[in-house]
């Protein structure tokens, strides 16, 4: 599975909305939509670091970096590129 797919799957496993037909795009802000609970920001940070074996620095813990699948994918890709430079 690619990076965006893994992130999307993790978000879906942690949604706290109960309609069967719920959906979100890669650019939807999952926090603004109320799709996740108050613990999710912490869980998401842990997930991204462990799943992709990267270290997110404190100055990178911006909500914008974690607000959508696309933004997280961008952050993860940039961290992976840094690691290989």
């Amino acid at each position: 599975m690619n990076i965006a797919g893994k992130i999307r799957e993790f978000i879906q496993e942690n949604l706290v909305v109960w309609e069967d037909d719920i959906s979100f795009s890669d650019t939807d802000n999952i926090f603004q939509l109320g799709f996740v609970n108050s613990l999710f920001a912490m869980k998401l940070l842990n997930f991204v670091e462990i799943e992709f074996d990267i270290k997110i620095e404190n100055n990178e813990i911006e909500l914008v970096n974690f607000s959508s699948v696309a933004n997280m994918e961008r952050l993860v890709k940039s961290k992976l590129m840094q690691a290989h430079e």
């Binding site: 496993e13 706290v16 920001a41 100055n59 813990i61």
Partner: protein, 381 residues
């Protein structure tokens, strides 16, 4: 002589330490309104205070399960002494380990591990309990430093703490700061508490307390989303084992008393009503231990659901502790209401665990969300 430190040896050392240095003095600690600083220093000398930190920072590198089992040994003997592990080591130390800069980790963690500096977590206020984001303690930015003003309440170890993780707000931002006690920080011990009477619980006032920007923990604005939630997760894991400790201790007191106490010409364990209480306690303690071990294992594996399994464990062990401590008082009769017997204290201490680090009611909401997601089966699939 074998001096190799293993998880098992540390747990056994904690048991012996509790037997010699804590258990005989628990009532005295309460009467004196606090565990002595010398006891905390001794815990540091034995490595308990940094047990879960990496050796690089003066710790023993214990895994979560061994740390939990060590916490249980201390917690069985005295809840206030165990609160040093919950607050100083877990809430403060582990949060600095997780979000601190390398400079912060290198400076603070060895001091925490040795007990040379005592830390407290200053979140709660008179009007701020479960709603952690509503803190009134505020901060303002003065060029390269910040100034904090406000009053915290219910702060365990607050009266003897040398430094604090302080949660404060500025407009919409909630931020965590590492704040050393100075002349602008005053503390007032809280009297009249139901329990944790020896835990140096205090109200803390910060009066324009100046701190350098380098003392922000994590980053400005992530105090609620990351720092508090992470600290509470560490704290809840500690409290899960604290609940198990009370439940186990209460069960042992029941089994022992039931075999020694005679009424109506026979030992009371022969009465079916007593057997029922003891059997329920055995089952619930075993179940609680399984949940703690499962949470610990998942934390070791960095499992994404470790957070919620920790919540499940904390919820269950705190409820179980309250139930078994209540039964222990009942089984002891009048002696259960007397502080010369253990159940009197366990009964008071157990109630606290249903409130701190996420009240049972708050945790029910999270557990319910988890269940609605995990156990949903679409019909006919």
């Amino acid at each position: 002589m074998n001096n190799i430190v293993t998880p098992a040896s540390i747990i056994e050392e904690a048991r012996l330490f509790a037997k010699e240095h804590i258990r005989p003095y628990t009532t005295r600690f309460e009467e004196n309104n606090g565990i002595p600083r010398s006891l905390i220093n001794k815990m540091g000398e034995h490595g308990f205070l940094g047990a879960v930190f990496p050796p690089l920072y003066g710790g023993l590198g214990l895994d979560p399960i061994a740390y939990g089992q060590m916490t249980e040994e201390i917690g069985k003997a005295c809840c206030s002494t165990r609160s040093v592990l919950t607050v100083h080591t877990s809430l403060v130390g582990q949060t600095i380990l997780r979000f601190g800069t390398e400079e912060q980790r290198s400076y603070w963690l060895p001091l925490i591990a040795s007990g040379k500096k005592i830390g407290a977590f200053a979140l709660s206020e008179a009007e701020t309990g479960s709603d952690a984001g509503s803190v009134k303690t505020s901060y303002i930015n003065h060029e390269d430093e910040y100034a904090i003003t406000g009053r915290k309440k219910w702060i365990s170890l607050g009266h003897i703490a040398d430094f604090f993780i302080v949660i404060a707000s500025c407009k919409e931002k909630v931020t965590a700061f590492i704040v050393e006690r100075d002349e602008t920080v005053t503390s007032t011990p809280m009297q009249g508490l139901l329990a944790n009477r020896a835990g140096h619980v205090a109200e803390i006032t910060f009066n324009n307390t100046r701190i350098p920007a380098a003392n922000i923990l994590g980053k400005e604005g992530i105090g609620l989303s990351h720092i508090i939630n992470t600290a509470m997760d560490y704290g809840r894991y500690s409290i899960a084992w604290a609940g198990l400790a009370i439940a186990q201790e209460a069960l042992e007191s029941m089994a022992t008393y039931a075999r020694q106490r005679t009424q109506f010409g026979q030992k009371i364990y022969k009465f079916q009503s007593i057997q029922q209480m003891i059997s329920q306690a055995v089952v619930n303690v075993h179940a609680a231990r399984c949940l703690c071990l499962k949470a610990g294992q998942m934390r070791s594996e960095n499992h994404p659901d470790a957070v919620v399994e920790t919540i499940v464990a904390k919820y269950h062990t705190s409820k179980t502790a309250m139930q078994i401590a209540t039964d222990a008082v009942q089984l002891h009769g009048g002696n259960g209401c007397y502080n010369m017997y253990v159940p009197e204290r366990l009964f008071r201490e157990a109630k606290i665990l249903e409130i701190i680090e996420g009240s049972s009611q708050v945790l029910q909401g999270i557990i319910s969300e988890f269940g609605l997601k995990k156990y949903y089966t679409k019909a006919h699939e």
